[in-house]
């Protein structure tokens, strides 16, 4: 446990020092939201798509953060050594996933606020609790899947382009679920709040599946890299 925290803290220290999230990923994600609006070019249309666009931006931001997280490890072959220091490689998995979760959750909060401001999305009443639950479960899922596929492509030549190819299809269900649940929280007329909770529950299941898969698969994956 201590090890997990130490690894997460190391990543967050580096993040804090380089301000990657704050100075770069957050502006990038906001920009993506704006670009969507530009590409769509129609008010009612944007409002309808708000939830989907927020999560799409989250997906792209996840790719960036995962790449960054593993570039740190592979730039000077630190991962090789790191795996020798810990008693079980799954600790590395959870440590890196934890720091990713913290970053993604902060980003998600910012993006939802941006959606309220930019797209005119509205959250009220029971929607708030649902929204927070969705943000939590979905970002946990993103962090776990991101870390898992991050280590798959770590050390590979051209990993920047390989990561999205592998991770995005797997994240598609998460995108759909999070979008639907967020729509419900935004008070859409095509989906009600109770249905939103059903989606949130599915997101939780998704996170658990990938958490266990990641813990189990990390060792053979990390072992294999050079």
């Amino acid at each position: 446990m201590n090890t997990v925290l130490a690894i997460a803290r190391k990543d967050l220290t580096i993040e804090w020092r380089t301000r990657t999230l704050l100075a770069r990923v957050v502006p990038f994600a906001l920009l993506v939201l704006v670009l969507f609006a530009v590409a769509l070019d129609s008010e009612p249309l944007i409002l309808r798509a708000a939830a989907g666009l927020v999560w799409l931006a989250m997906l792209f931001a996840t790719m960036l953060l995962v790449q960054r997280s593993f570039d740190l490890e592979t730039a000077d072959s630190a991962l090789d050594a790191l795996l020798g220091f810990v008693s079980s490689s799954s600790k590395v998995f959870f440590g890196k996933a934890l720091s990713l979760f913290v970053q993604l959750f902060s980003l998600a909060v910012v993006l939802v606020c941006a959606a309220v401001v930019l797209y005119g999305a509205r959250v009220e009443g029971g929607g708030v609790v649902l929204l927070v639950t969705v943000l939590l479960t979905a970002t946990v899922g993103l962090a776990l899947v991101g870390t898992l596929y991050g280590v798959v492509v770590a050390n590979m030549n051209g990993r920047d382009s390989l990561l999205p190819l592998l991770a995005l299809p797997v994240l598609a269900p998460l995108l759909i679920g999070a979008t639907r649940a967020t729509e419900a929280a935004f008070g859409s007329d095509t989906i009600d709040v109770s249905n939103g909770w059903a989606w949130a529950a599915l997101l939780a299941v998704y996170a658990v599946v990938f958490g266990s898969a990641g813990a189990a698969a990390f060792a053979p994956l990390a072992q294999g890299d050079s």
Partner: protein
């Protein structure tokens, strides 16, 4: 040609027989037989591309074995690479530092993971001549030699049972070299086994107890000094 690889046994730190490692179809190691006893200090020599780094990476569990059998500290490298990794300290051609952490934070991180204390960190940094200013500078901004020193400090903190060092002298100045000399001899004295590669004739003082020379992926010579 004093070959002396027959001594196996339970106290063997490294025990290779018929080891072949193919990289991209090329046999970087083409049948290596080798036994290193616990507590030995071994220099690995040979021309460029003869397989020294490959041998070290194999023993550290980083490169898969293609043929033959390899045991490190009694553990099978082919099947239990995870265990091997946790017993071995490897310094490769890369230093394994996080460039956005300071030199001290890098060593501290390792110390935390392996359960060493802050005093160990200070002692290691001090020993390798990493002064306070350098220790507080981000690793990415350090000079080549300072980075190498920091990586060595992490290794000292680590206290592995088997030390594998790939050209540890590269980039170090003469002061750091003689310090490294002392560190390696001390490590073997306290029971650890040390294998390092080098291209320099006078790298570790004049007398290295044992020198193994590779040629084209096989052991060509294995020379012991008579007394330690």
């Amino acid at each position: 040609m004093a070959s002396d690889t027959a001594k196996a046994g339970s106290d063997a730190a490294i025990l290779l027989s018929g080891v072949v490692v193919a990289l991209g179809g090329f046999p970087a190691l083409a049948g290596v037989d080798l036994a290193v006893r616990s507590g030995e200090l071994v220099a690995l020599r040979g021309a460029n591309g003869t397989g020294k780094s490959t041998l070290l990476r194999l023993c550290a569990g980083l490169t898969p074995l293609t043929r033959g059998s390899a045991r490190v500290l009694g553990v099978d490298v082919a099947t239990q690479r995870d265990t091997v990794r946790s017993l071995v300290g490897l310094l490769g051609h890369d230093n394994g530092l996080y460039s956005d952490l300071t030199a001290r934070e890098n060593v501290q991180f390792v110390a935390h993971l392996v359960g060493a204390g802050t005093s160990d960190v200070d002692a290691a940094l001090d020993r390798l001549g990493v002064d306070a200013r350098v220790a507080a500078t981000r690793a990415g901004a350090l000079s080549a030699g300072q980075r190498r020193r920091t990586a060595l400090a992490s290794l000292v903190v680590r206290r592995a049972q088997l030390w594998l060092l790939d050209e540890p002298h590269a980039g170090l100045d003469s002061a750091a070299r003689s310090e490294l000399d002392g560190i390696l001899r001390e490590a073997t004295r306290s029971g650890a086994t040390v294998v390092y590669t080098t291209h320099e004739s006078d790298a570790l003082g004049a007398t290295v107890p044992r020198t193994i020379t590779l040629t084209s992926g096989v052991v060509a010579r294995d020379v012991m000094e008579h007394s330690r």
